[in-house]
Symmetry: C2
Subunit: 243 residues, 2 copies
Protein backbone atom coordinates (compact mmCIF):
# COMPACT_ATOMS: atom_id res chain seq x y z
CA UNK A 1 0.00 0.00 0.00
CA UNK A 2 1.39 3.36 -0.95
CA UNK A 3 -0.68 5.68 1.15
CA UNK A 4 0.60 9.08 2.17
CA UNK A 5 1.51 9.51 5.79
CA UNK A 6 -1.17 11.37 7.70
CA UNK A 7 -0.23 14.32 9.92
CA UNK A 8 -1.10 14.11 13.62
CA UNK A 9 -3.86 16.40 14.93
CA UNK A 10 -3.26 17.88 18.39
CA UNK A 11 -6.30 18.84 20.47
CA UNK A 12 -5.69 21.26 23.33
CA UNK A 13 -8.81 20.31 25.26
CA UNK A 14 -10.25 20.34 28.74
CA UNK A 15 -12.09 23.66 28.26
CA UNK A 16 -14.36 21.92 29.14
CA UNK A 17 -13.73 18.20 28.94
CA UNK A 18 -17.07 17.58 27.15
CA UNK A 19 -16.21 20.03 24.38
CA UNK A 20 -12.83 18.33 23.85
CA UNK A 21 -14.45 14.90 23.61
CA UNK A 22 -17.14 16.27 21.33
CA UNK A 23 -14.47 17.76 19.07
CA UNK A 24 -12.70 14.40 18.88
CA UNK A 25 -15.99 12.70 17.95
CA UNK A 26 -16.57 15.29 15.20
CA UNK A 27 -13.08 14.66 13.77
CA UNK A 28 -13.91 10.96 13.54
CA UNK A 29 -17.40 11.54 12.07
CA UNK A 30 -16.19 14.05 9.48
CA UNK A 31 -13.56 11.62 8.16
CA UNK A 32 -14.34 9.36 5.21
CA UNK A 33 -13.04 6.02 6.53
CA UNK A 34 -13.81 2.43 5.75
CA UNK A 35 -11.40 1.15 8.37
CA UNK A 36 -9.40 2.36 11.35
CA UNK A 37 -6.25 3.13 9.36
CA UNK A 38 -8.01 5.79 7.24
CA UNK A 39 -8.39 8.02 10.31
CA UNK A 40 -5.83 10.69 11.16
CA UNK A 41 -3.73 10.17 14.29
CA UNK A 42 -4.96 12.40 17.11
CA UNK A 43 -3.45 13.39 20.43
CA UNK A 44 -5.80 15.04 22.89
CA UNK A 45 -4.46 16.87 25.91
CA UNK A 46 -7.24 17.61 28.36
CA UNK A 47 -6.24 19.36 31.57
CA UNK A 48 -9.40 20.95 32.94
CA UNK A 49 -7.39 22.62 35.71
CA UNK A 50 -6.33 25.39 33.30
CA UNK A 51 -7.47 28.74 34.81
CA UNK A 52 -10.96 29.82 33.74
CA UNK A 53 -10.79 31.89 30.55
CA UNK A 54 -13.87 33.99 31.23
CA UNK A 55 -12.64 34.93 34.70
CA UNK A 56 -9.24 35.92 33.30
CA UNK A 57 -10.78 38.13 30.60
CA UNK A 58 -13.48 39.82 32.70
CA UNK A 59 -12.24 39.86 36.27
CA UNK A 60 -8.47 39.87 36.09
CA UNK A 61 -8.33 36.23 37.24
CA UNK A 62 -5.16 34.15 36.74
CA UNK A 63 -4.11 33.95 33.09
CA UNK A 64 -4.45 30.57 31.36
CA UNK A 65 -1.58 31.33 28.96
CA UNK A 66 1.20 29.48 30.84
CA UNK A 67 -0.98 26.37 31.28
CA UNK A 68 -1.99 26.45 27.61
CA UNK A 69 1.67 26.78 26.56
CA UNK A 70 2.51 23.71 28.64
CA UNK A 71 -0.31 21.88 26.85
CA UNK A 72 1.05 22.83 23.45
CA UNK A 73 4.50 21.59 24.44
CA UNK A 74 3.05 18.31 25.69
CA UNK A 75 1.20 17.86 22.39
CA UNK A 76 4.36 18.55 20.42
CA UNK A 77 6.37 16.16 22.64
CA UNK A 78 3.78 13.43 22.09
CA UNK A 79 4.05 13.85 18.31
CA UNK A 80 1.32 16.30 17.23
CA UNK A 81 2.05 18.20 13.99
CA UNK A 82 -0.40 21.04 14.64
CA UNK A 83 -3.01 21.94 17.27
CA UNK A 84 -6.54 23.27 17.74
CA UNK A 85 -8.23 24.57 20.91
CA UNK A 86 -11.88 23.48 21.02
CA UNK A 87 -12.80 26.49 23.19
CA UNK A 88 -13.78 29.74 21.55
CA UNK A 89 -13.22 31.85 24.67
CA UNK A 90 -9.60 30.67 24.82
CA UNK A 91 -9.10 32.24 21.40
CA UNK A 92 -8.87 35.59 23.18
CA UNK A 93 -5.32 34.36 23.90
CA UNK A 94 -4.76 32.83 20.44
CA UNK A 95 -2.40 35.45 19.05
CA UNK A 96 -0.26 35.39 22.21
CA UNK A 97 -0.11 31.59 22.13
CA UNK A 98 0.50 31.24 18.40
CA UNK A 99 3.50 33.57 18.53
CA UNK A 100 6.43 31.30 19.33
CA UNK A 101 4.24 28.22 19.78
CA UNK A 102 6.11 24.91 19.43
CA UNK A 103 3.64 23.86 16.70
CA UNK A 104 1.14 25.64 14.40
CA UNK A 105 -2.11 26.56 16.16
CA UNK A 106 -5.25 26.67 13.97
CA UNK A 107 -7.76 29.38 14.91
CA UNK A 108 -11.35 28.14 15.29
CA UNK A 109 -12.55 31.73 14.91
CA UNK A 110 -10.72 32.40 11.64
CA UNK A 111 -11.85 29.02 10.28
CA UNK A 112 -15.45 29.88 11.21
CA UNK A 113 -15.37 33.25 9.46
CA UNK A 114 -13.87 31.62 6.36
CA UNK A 115 -16.52 28.87 6.39
CA UNK A 116 -19.41 31.36 6.68
CA UNK A 117 -18.03 33.41 3.78
CA UNK A 118 -17.65 30.29 1.67
CA UNK A 119 -21.01 28.66 2.46
CA UNK A 120 -23.13 31.84 2.53
CA UNK A 121 -21.29 34.67 0.74
CA UNK A 122 -24.31 37.02 1.09
CA UNK A 123 -24.25 36.94 4.91
CA UNK A 124 -24.20 40.43 6.42
CA UNK A 125 -25.22 39.71 10.04
CA UNK A 126 -24.38 36.82 12.38
CA UNK A 127 -25.81 36.29 15.87
CA UNK A 128 -23.42 35.17 18.58
CA UNK A 129 -24.22 32.94 21.54
CA UNK A 130 -21.10 32.72 23.66
CA UNK A 131 -19.67 33.25 27.12
CA UNK A 132 -19.59 36.82 28.42
CA UNK A 133 -15.80 36.59 28.17
CA UNK A 134 -16.00 35.94 24.44
CA UNK A 135 -18.70 38.58 23.91
CA UNK A 136 -16.89 41.34 25.82
CA UNK A 137 -13.45 40.49 24.45
CA UNK A 138 -14.83 41.26 20.99
CA UNK A 139 -12.66 38.60 19.39
CA UNK A 140 -15.46 37.15 17.27
CA UNK A 141 -16.87 40.55 16.30
CA UNK A 142 -13.43 41.75 15.14
CA UNK A 143 -12.78 38.64 13.05
CA UNK A 144 -16.18 38.92 11.32
CA UNK A 145 -15.86 42.70 10.90
CA UNK A 146 -12.67 42.14 8.93
CA UNK A 147 -14.84 40.14 6.50
CA UNK A 148 -17.55 42.82 6.36
CA UNK A 149 -19.98 40.89 8.59
CA UNK A 150 -21.68 42.44 11.63
CA UNK A 151 -22.07 40.42 14.85
CA UNK A 152 -25.22 40.73 16.99
CA UNK A 153 -25.00 39.75 20.67
CA UNK A 154 -27.81 39.10 23.18
CA UNK A 155 -29.11 41.88 25.44
CA UNK A 156 -27.32 41.95 28.85
CA UNK A 157 -30.21 40.16 30.63
CA UNK A 158 -30.22 37.36 28.02
CA UNK A 159 -26.44 37.16 28.19
CA UNK A 160 -26.72 36.42 31.91
CA UNK A 161 -29.19 33.64 31.18
CA UNK A 162 -26.78 32.18 28.61
CA UNK A 163 -24.03 32.13 31.23
CA UNK A 164 -26.32 30.36 33.73
CA UNK A 165 -27.24 27.81 31.03
CA UNK A 166 -23.54 27.09 30.47
CA UNK A 167 -22.00 27.45 33.95
CA UNK A 168 -25.02 26.96 36.27
CA UNK A 169 -25.29 24.17 38.80
CA UNK A 170 -27.72 22.50 36.39
CA UNK A 171 -26.00 23.81 33.28
CA UNK A 172 -24.17 22.31 30.33
CA UNK A 173 -20.78 22.16 32.03
CA UNK A 174 -22.45 20.09 34.78
CA UNK A 175 -23.57 17.63 32.08
CA UNK A 176 -27.15 18.92 31.59
CA UNK A 177 -27.75 19.37 27.84
CA UNK A 178 -31.58 19.14 27.73
CA UNK A 179 -34.32 20.92 29.71
CA UNK A 180 -33.78 24.49 30.98
CA UNK A 181 -30.29 25.13 29.49
CA UNK A 182 -31.59 24.11 26.07
CA UNK A 183 -34.77 26.19 26.45
CA UNK A 184 -32.74 29.29 27.32
CA UNK A 185 -30.44 28.88 24.32
CA UNK A 186 -33.40 28.31 21.97
CA UNK A 187 -35.08 31.50 23.20
CA UNK A 188 -31.94 33.63 22.94
CA UNK A 189 -31.19 32.30 19.43
CA UNK A 190 -34.75 33.09 18.29
CA UNK A 191 -34.33 36.64 19.64
CA UNK A 192 -31.14 37.13 17.61
CA UNK A 193 -32.90 35.88 14.47
CA UNK A 194 -35.78 38.34 15.07
CA UNK A 195 -33.22 41.13 15.24
CA UNK A 196 -31.87 40.16 11.81
CA UNK A 197 -29.22 37.45 12.32
CA UNK A 198 -28.91 35.43 9.08
CA UNK A 199 -26.99 32.75 10.96
CA UNK A 200 -26.28 32.03 14.63
CA UNK A 201 -22.79 31.13 15.74
CA UNK A 202 -22.50 28.66 18.61
CA UNK A 203 -19.68 30.80 19.93
CA UNK A 204 -19.06 28.73 23.03
CA UNK A 205 -18.13 25.13 22.36
CA UNK A 206 -20.64 24.04 25.03
CA UNK A 207 -23.57 25.50 23.03
CA UNK A 208 -23.81 22.78 20.33
CA UNK A 209 -23.98 20.19 23.10
CA UNK A 210 -27.51 21.52 23.75
CA UNK A 211 -28.57 23.20 20.46
CA UNK A 212 -28.84 21.34 17.15
CA UNK A 213 -28.75 22.68 13.55
CA UNK A 214 -32.44 21.85 12.93
CA UNK A 215 -33.53 23.90 15.96
CA UNK A 216 -33.37 27.28 14.22
CA UNK A 217 -34.85 28.89 11.11
CA UNK A 218 -31.36 30.06 10.10
CA UNK A 219 -28.10 28.05 9.95
CA UNK A 220 -26.45 27.23 13.27
CA UNK A 221 -22.75 27.83 12.70
CA UNK A 222 -20.77 25.37 14.78
CA UNK A 223 -17.06 26.19 15.16
CA UNK A 224 -16.48 22.68 16.56
CA UNK A 225 -17.60 21.04 13.32
CA UNK A 226 -15.88 23.66 11.17
CA UNK A 227 -12.67 23.28 13.16
CA UNK A 228 -12.88 19.50 13.05
CA UNK A 229 -13.17 19.63 9.27
CA UNK A 230 -10.23 22.04 9.06
CA UNK A 231 -8.15 19.65 11.18
CA UNK A 232 -9.08 16.59 9.08
CA UNK A 233 -8.22 18.48 5.88
CA UNK A 234 -4.88 19.58 7.30
CA UNK A 235 -4.05 16.05 8.47
CA UNK A 236 -4.33 14.74 4.92
CA UNK A 237 -7.24 12.39 5.74
CA UNK A 238 -10.34 12.44 3.52
CA UNK A 239 -13.45 14.43 4.45
CA UNK A 240 -16.76 12.58 4.49
CA UNK A 241 -18.63 15.37 2.65
CA UNK A 242 -16.76 17.61 0.23
CA UNK A 243 -16.59 21.31 1.16
CA UNK B 1 -8.70 25.81 47.77
CA UNK B 2 -6.83 22.84 49.09
CA UNK B 3 -7.82 20.12 46.69
CA UNK B 4 -5.62 17.13 46.10
CA UNK B 5 -3.82 17.01 42.80
CA UNK B 6 -5.50 14.63 40.36
CA UNK B 7 -3.42 12.06 38.52
CA UNK B 8 -3.42 12.15 34.71
CA UNK B 9 -5.19 9.33 32.84
CA UNK B 10 -3.46 8.10 29.67
CA UNK B 11 -5.62 6.54 26.96
CA UNK B 12 -3.81 4.41 24.40
CA UNK B 13 -6.52 4.66 21.75
CA UNK B 14 -7.04 4.38 18.03
CA UNK B 15 -8.13 0.72 18.15
CA UNK B 16 -10.47 1.91 16.70
CA UNK B 17 -10.79 5.67 16.95
CA UNK B 18 -14.50 5.46 17.88
CA UNK B 19 -13.77 3.19 20.85
CA UNK B 20 -11.11 5.61 22.11
CA UNK B 21 -13.48 8.57 21.87
CA UNK B 22 -16.23 6.55 23.48
CA UNK B 23 -13.90 5.65 26.35
CA UNK B 24 -13.07 9.33 26.87
CA UNK B 25 -16.79 10.19 26.94
CA UNK B 26 -17.37 7.47 29.55
CA UNK B 27 -14.58 8.85 31.74
CA UNK B 28 -16.27 12.26 31.67
CA UNK B 29 -19.76 10.83 32.27
CA UNK B 30 -18.66 8.60 35.16
CA UNK B 31 -17.05 11.53 36.99
CA UNK B 32 -19.00 13.48 39.62
CA UNK B 33 -18.24 17.05 38.53
CA UNK B 34 -19.96 20.36 39.02
CA UNK B 35 -17.38 22.24 37.01
CA UNK B 36 -14.50 21.59 34.61
CA UNK B 37 -11.82 21.51 37.31
CA UNK B 38 -13.36 18.45 39.03
CA UNK B 39 -12.49 16.29 36.02
CA UNK B 40 -9.26 14.31 35.88
CA UNK B 41 -6.67 15.39 33.34
CA UNK B 42 -6.64 13.02 30.37
CA UNK B 43 -4.20 12.50 27.52
CA UNK B 44 -5.46 10.41 24.62
CA UNK B 45 -3.06 9.03 22.05
CA UNK B 46 -4.94 7.74 19.05
CA UNK B 47 -2.83 6.36 16.22
CA UNK B 48 -5.13 4.12 14.17
CA UNK B 49 -2.19 3.03 12.00
CA UNK B 50 -1.12 0.49 14.66
CA UNK B 51 -1.05 -2.98 13.04
CA UNK B 52 -4.35 -4.87 13.27
CA UNK B 53 -4.47 -6.91 16.48
CA UNK B 54 -6.73 -9.68 15.15
CA UNK B 55 -4.52 -10.21 12.10
CA UNK B 56 -1.42 -10.41 14.29
CA UNK B 57 -3.00 -12.99 16.61
CA UNK B 58 -4.66 -15.21 13.98
CA UNK B 59 -2.64 -14.88 10.80
CA UNK B 60 0.89 -14.00 11.87
CA UNK B 61 0.46 -10.40 10.69
CA UNK B 62 2.83 -7.65 11.86
CA UNK B 63 2.92 -7.31 15.65
CA UNK B 64 1.40 -4.15 17.16
CA UNK B 65 3.74 -4.29 20.18
CA UNK B 66 6.36 -1.80 18.95
CA UNK B 67 3.68 0.73 17.93
CA UNK B 68 1.90 0.34 21.26
CA UNK B 69 5.17 0.83 23.15
CA UNK B 70 5.74 4.07 21.24
CA UNK B 71 2.24 5.14 22.26
CA UNK B 72 2.94 4.43 25.92
CA UNK B 73 6.16 6.47 25.73
CA UNK B 74 4.30 9.36 24.07
CA UNK B 75 1.69 9.27 26.84
CA UNK B 76 4.36 9.28 29.53
CA UNK B 77 6.23 12.13 27.77
CA UNK B 78 3.02 14.17 27.62
CA UNK B 79 2.49 13.70 31.35
CA UNK B 80 0.22 10.68 31.84
CA UNK B 81 0.59 8.91 35.21
CA UNK B 82 -0.92 5.59 34.09
CA UNK B 83 -2.54 4.19 30.94
CA UNK B 84 -5.46 2.10 29.68
CA UNK B 85 -6.01 0.54 26.24
CA UNK B 86 -9.68 0.75 25.23
CA UNK B 87 -9.33 -2.32 22.99
CA UNK B 88 -9.90 -5.77 24.44
CA UNK B 89 -8.14 -7.60 21.60
CA UNK B 90 -4.96 -5.61 22.28
CA UNK B 91 -4.93 -7.12 25.77
CA UNK B 92 -3.53 -10.27 24.19
CA UNK B 93 -0.29 -8.24 24.29
CA UNK B 94 -0.93 -6.71 27.73
CA UNK B 95 1.59 -8.77 29.71
CA UNK B 96 4.32 -8.13 27.16
CA UNK B 97 3.57 -4.39 27.16
CA UNK B 98 3.18 -4.02 30.91
CA UNK B 99 6.60 -5.57 31.57
CA UNK B 100 9.00 -2.68 31.41
CA UNK B 101 6.36 -0.17 30.39
CA UNK B 102 7.25 3.49 31.06
CA UNK B 103 4.03 3.85 33.12
CA UNK B 104 1.55 1.48 34.82
CA UNK B 105 -0.89 -0.12 32.35
CA UNK B 106 -4.34 -1.00 33.74
CA UNK B 107 -5.86 -4.21 32.31
CA UNK B 108 -9.44 -3.82 31.07
CA UNK B 109 -9.84 -7.59 31.25
CA UNK B 110 -8.73 -7.92 34.88
CA UNK B 111 -10.91 -4.94 35.84
CA UNK B 112 -13.87 -6.58 34.10
CA UNK B 113 -13.43 -9.89 35.92
CA UNK B 114 -13.14 -8.03 39.23
CA UNK B 115 -16.26 -5.97 38.50
CA UNK B 116 -18.35 -9.05 37.61
CA UNK B 117 -17.26 -10.80 40.81
CA UNK B 118 -18.12 -7.74 42.86
CA UNK B 119 -21.47 -6.91 41.24
CA UNK B 120 -22.72 -10.50 40.78
CA UNK B 121 -20.76 -12.87 43.03
CA UNK B 122 -22.98 -15.85 42.04
CA UNK B 123 -22.05 -15.65 38.35
CA UNK B 124 -20.83 -19.00 37.00
CA UNK B 125 -21.11 -18.43 33.22
CA UNK B 126 -20.44 -15.37 31.07
CA UNK B 127 -21.08 -15.10 27.32
CA UNK B 128 -18.45 -13.38 25.21
CA UNK B 129 -19.02 -11.31 22.07
CA UNK B 130 -15.61 -10.32 20.76
CA UNK B 131 -13.32 -10.41 17.75
CA UNK B 132 -12.13 -13.83 16.61
CA UNK B 133 -8.67 -12.74 17.73
CA UNK B 134 -9.87 -12.25 21.29
CA UNK B 135 -11.95 -15.45 21.25
CA UNK B 136 -9.15 -17.67 19.91
CA UNK B 137 -6.42 -16.08 22.02
CA UNK B 138 -8.35 -17.24 25.08
CA UNK B 139 -7.29 -14.19 27.07
CA UNK B 140 -10.77 -13.49 28.43
CA UNK B 141 -11.54 -17.15 29.14
CA UNK B 142 -8.29 -17.54 31.11
CA UNK B 143 -8.91 -14.43 33.20
CA UNK B 144 -12.44 -15.53 34.10
CA UNK B 145 -11.37 -19.16 34.67
CA UNK B 146 -8.95 -17.94 37.34
CA UNK B 147 -12.03 -16.54 39.13
CA UNK B 148 -14.02 -19.78 38.70
CA UNK B 149 -16.22 -18.41 35.90
CA UNK B 150 -16.76 -20.22 32.60
CA UNK B 151 -16.83 -18.27 29.32
CA UNK B 152 -19.22 -19.25 26.50
CA UNK B 153 -18.37 -18.15 22.96
CA UNK B 154 -20.58 -18.08 19.83
CA UNK B 155 -20.61 -21.05 17.41
CA UNK B 156 -18.10 -20.61 14.52
CA UNK B 157 -20.83 -19.53 12.06
CA UNK B 158 -22.10 -16.86 14.49
CA UNK B 159 -18.54 -15.77 15.23
CA UNK B 160 -18.10 -15.03 11.51
CA UNK B 161 -21.26 -12.92 11.57
CA UNK B 162 -19.94 -11.00 14.59
CA UNK B 163 -16.73 -10.23 12.68
CA UNK B 164 -18.73 -9.00 9.67
CA UNK B 165 -20.81 -6.80 11.99
CA UNK B 166 -17.61 -5.25 13.37
CA UNK B 167 -15.27 -5.15 10.37
CA UNK B 168 -17.69 -5.33 7.41
CA UNK B 169 -18.00 -2.62 4.78
CA UNK B 170 -21.24 -1.61 6.51
CA UNK B 171 -20.04 -2.56 9.96
CA UNK B 172 -19.38 -0.75 13.22
CA UNK B 173 -15.80 0.24 12.35
CA UNK B 174 -17.22 1.93 9.24
CA UNK B 175 -19.49 3.97 11.52
CA UNK B 176 -22.69 1.88 11.19
CA UNK B 177 -24.01 1.19 14.70
CA UNK B 178 -27.71 0.54 13.92
CA UNK B 179 -29.41 -1.78 11.41
CA UNK B 180 -27.78 -5.09 10.40
CA UNK B 181 -24.69 -4.93 12.69
CA UNK B 182 -26.95 -4.34 15.68
CA UNK B 183 -29.38 -7.10 14.62
CA UNK B 184 -26.53 -9.62 14.33
CA UNK B 185 -25.17 -8.76 17.79
CA UNK B 186 -28.65 -8.95 19.36
CA UNK B 187 -29.20 -12.42 17.86
CA UNK B 188 -25.81 -13.75 18.92
CA UNK B 189 -26.24 -12.38 22.45
CA UNK B 190 -29.69 -14.00 22.76
CA UNK B 191 -28.14 -17.32 21.66
CA UNK B 192 -25.50 -17.10 24.40
CA UNK B 193 -28.20 -16.38 27.00
CA UNK B 194 -30.22 -19.43 25.81
CA UNK B 195 -27.10 -21.54 26.33
CA UNK B 196 -26.84 -20.37 29.94
CA UNK B 197 -24.88 -17.11 30.00
CA UNK B 198 -25.81 -15.16 33.15
CA UNK B 199 -24.17 -12.05 31.70
CA UNK B 200 -22.81 -11.09 28.28
CA UNK B 201 -19.46 -9.38 28.00
CA UNK B 202 -19.07 -6.82 25.21
CA UNK B 203 -15.60 -8.21 24.63
CA UNK B 204 -14.75 -5.98 21.72
CA UNK B 205 -14.87 -2.28 22.47
CA UNK B 206 -16.88 -1.75 19.26
CA UNK B 207 -19.77 -3.89 20.56
CA UNK B 208 -21.26 -1.36 23.04
CA UNK B 209 -21.38 1.19 20.23
CA UNK B 210 -24.25 -0.93 18.81
CA UNK B 211 -25.62 -2.91 21.81
CA UNK B 212 -27.07 -1.23 24.91
CA UNK B 213 -27.56 -2.59 28.45
CA UNK B 214 -31.39 -2.67 28.18
CA UNK B 215 -31.20 -4.84 25.03
CA UNK B 216 -30.68 -8.14 26.87
CA UNK B 217 -32.45 -10.12 29.59
CA UNK B 218 -29.11 -10.47 31.44
CA UNK B 219 -26.53 -7.75 32.28
CA UNK B 220 -24.38 -6.50 29.41
CA UNK B 221 -20.89 -6.24 30.87
CA UNK B 222 -19.10 -3.34 29.24
CA UNK B 223 -15.32 -3.26 29.77
CA UNK B 224 -15.25 0.33 28.45
CA UNK B 225 -17.46 1.58 31.28
CA UNK B 226 -15.74 -0.63 33.86
CA UNK B 227 -12.32 0.54 32.66
CA UNK B 228 -13.43 4.18 32.62
CA UNK B 229 -14.56 3.88 36.23
CA UNK B 230 -11.28 2.20 37.19
CA UNK B 231 -9.38 5.06 35.56
CA UNK B 232 -11.45 7.76 37.30
CA UNK B 233 -10.97 6.03 40.66
CA UNK B 234 -7.23 5.78 40.10
CA UNK B 235 -6.97 9.43 39.06
CA UNK B 236 -8.38 10.54 42.40
CA UNK B 237 -11.47 12.18 40.85
CA UNK B 238 -14.90 11.35 42.28
CA UNK B 239 -17.16 8.72 40.69
CA UNK B 240 -20.71 9.75 39.82
CA UNK B 241 -22.25 6.55 41.24
CA UNK B 242 -20.52 4.73 44.10
CA UNK B 243 -19.27 1.19 43.32
Amino acid sequence: MSRKRLRTIGILGGMGPEAGASFLVRIIRETAAGRDQDHAPVILYSRPQVPDRTRAILHGGPSPVAALRRGLRALRDAGADFAVMPCVTAHHFHARLAAGAPLPLISLVDETVAAVRKMRPATKTVGLIATTGTVRSGLVARAFAAAGIEVLVPAPRDQERVMAAIYGKKGIKAGVTAGPPRTVLLGVAAGLVRRGAQAVMAGCTEVPLALRPGDLTVPLVDPLTIGARAAVRRSGARLRRAD
